[in-house]
């Protein structure tokens, strides 16, 4: 069953328009005749499909348009061109540690995050202990969130998020969370979810991880789709060559 279809998706950012630069700058540029709006295509003409249970790895250097693409897939952004069709529920774990409120306690933040991810209160009541134990933050639960270290923050974020039971799961760099011990634990948890039949999109800078886990690979570079296919190893090889500077695009 096809759960996700992304067809010719392009996403454009506009910078330097009137609202962006303010009145003074706008008038000055008008007088100097160099007022123009800059278009920036974060993604151009990207297409892929995912069947149920497949796992897609998205690779590419920084600024390749990975996160923007995921925002479009998860419905936060609307593509400027092209369309996206999804079946079933979708859970996106994007930039995990943001969106927490520093003034609230760890416990309050856990509930808030759970609510954002679409859980019910009952579910949170039932699983709160499990979450806090998994994050190993029991002794911090009544402390203000801003007192946590960044590693602890990501750990909590991951622990709340990994309870989702979605049809489509989007993981943006989440498997590199926390210290070594926690990373192992989180990877095991992720595998468990994936084995549960979820269709997954994984963004990772760790090629071994992609080689090992993914059944499809999408390589993006500066917003363009360089390669896409099921020949995971070959694409990863070429990407590695590109990273080593042996292959020019």
């Amino acid at each position: 069953m096809r759960v996700l279809e992304v067809k010719n998706v392009s996403i454009r950012y506009i910078t330097g328009d009137f609202k962006d630069i303010g009145l003074k700058e706008y008038l000055l540029r008008r007088i100097r005749h160099d007022y123009h709006v800059t278009e920036f295509w974060a993604d151009q003409d990207i297409s892929f499909t995912l069947e149920q249970g497949e796992m897609l790895g998205i690779i590419g250097s920084n600024g390749a348009g990975k996160s923007t693409l995921l925002k479009a897939v998860s419905g936060i952004m609307v593509p400027t061109k092209g369309w996206i069709h999804r079946e079933g529920s979708i859970a996106a774990l994007l930039e995990l540690a943001s969106g927490f409120d520093g003034d609230l306690t760890v416990k309050e933040n856990t509930y808030l995050r759970g609510a954002m991810l679409g859980y019910t209160r009952k579910f949170m009541d039932d699983t709160y202990d499990q979450i806090i134990d998994f994050a190993e933050l029991r002794e911090f639960e009544d402390r203000p969130f801003k007192q946590l270290s960044s590693g602890m923050r990501s750990r909590l974020a991951f622990s709340v998020a990994c309870l989702v039971n979605p049809d489509i799961l989007i993981l943006d760099e989440v498997l590199s969370v926390g210290d070594g011990a926690f990373r192992k634990k989180s990877e095991a948890k992720m595998r468990e979810i994936i084995r549960g039949g979820a269709t997954t999109i994984l963004v990772s800078h760790s090629l071994p991880q992609v080689r090992e886990m993914c059944s499809k690979v999408l390589w993006l570079h500066k917003g363009r789709q360089i390669e896409y296919g099921e020949n995971v190893q070959e694409i990863c090889d070429r990407y590695q060559q590109f990273l080593d500077g042996k292959l020019k695009l």
């Binding site: 950012y13 936060i76 952004m77 996106a92 609230l104 609510a115 954002m116 949170m124």
Partner: protein, 257 residues
């Protein structure tokens, strides 16, 4: 209808947002929630001290008269100012999670409404002290309260959307509300103006709300049907405009936050 469905679906999130806004509001204050009651009382006290000399003499129940104005205006002011920043303040959330964006505004408004409720209790207490007779007509106060809530939400929609694109709006709105306060006859009566000017006051929606309160509480009369319709018209206009802006810019907000 979609909105109600959406709120039901996100009820848990909505509750958590309200809780969060409430907790944050009184964080690190010694008196906490008591400020909801104290701050309008102190404003009232200041106005009472300052204006009794000038306007208080000829106005019956001047304290109640003042309080009506303050009650409505403080709610309006707090609601719209808080509402304006609701979208920007939660940018960290809606750029990462797909949630209806008006939830943030509604949660702020719920918080302001609770505040208003508390002040309203104090208001009733003051009315008793001021020797106001309570009639069945007080039930009619539900009308301006409901409309005022909608009006605040409508303005909140407009302001929060504008705030994303033009941060200048916060300064403009600050000045504008100040002007509005002076034009809403909070501490003076409009009787001494010519009938024409008195009609001009009716163009100010906030004045309409205040006037409604005073009619019921002090004069114990129900305003005319036209008065009701005029208020409803203002509210519908603002809410309609706000909804349209949110619908139109829903997916564009995140480029500017």
């Amino acid at each position: 209808m979609r909105i109600i469905e959406n709120i039901q679906r996100h009820q848990f999130l909505f509750e958590e947002l309200v809780k969060r806004d409430f907790k944050k509001k009184y964080k690190r204050t010694v008196l906490g929630m008591a400020w909801s009651v104290l701050s309008p009382l102190l404003t009232l006290l200041v106005m009472r001290l300052v204006f009794t000399q000038f306007f208080g003499r000829g106005t019956p129940h001047y304290t109640t008269y003042l309080f009506c104005g303050n009650l409505v205006f403080a709610f309006f002011n707090e609601s719209t100012v808080q509402g304006m920043s609701s979208l920007m303040g939660n940018a960290g959330i809606f750029t990462k999670v797909n949630v209806p964006k008006y939830l943030f505004l509604l949660s702020k408004n719920v918080q302001c409404l609770i505040n208003f409720g508390l002040t309203l209790c104090v208001f009733v207490l003051f009315c008793i002290l001021d020797g106001i007779t309570f009639t069945w007509r007080w039930v009619f106060l539900l009308y301006p309260i409901c409309l005022l809530v909608c009006f605040n939400i409508g303005l909140g929609l407009i302001l929060s959307a504008l705030f994303v694109f033009f941060r200048d709006i916060q300064y403009l709105w600050g000045i504008f509300t100040q002007l509005l306060m002076y034009m809403s006859a909070i501490f003076y009566t409009i009787d001494s103006y010519s009938p024409l000017v008195q009609h001009v006051f009716l163009l100010n929606p906030v004045y309409l709300f205040i006037r409604y309160f005073r009619k019921i509480v002090i004069e114990a009369t129900i305003p005319t049907v036209w008065f009701h319709l005029l208020m409803a018209f203002d509210v519908l206009l603002v809410v309609g405009l706000g909804c349209r802006m949110y619908k139109k810019y829903n997916h564009r907000f995140l480029y500017y936050v």
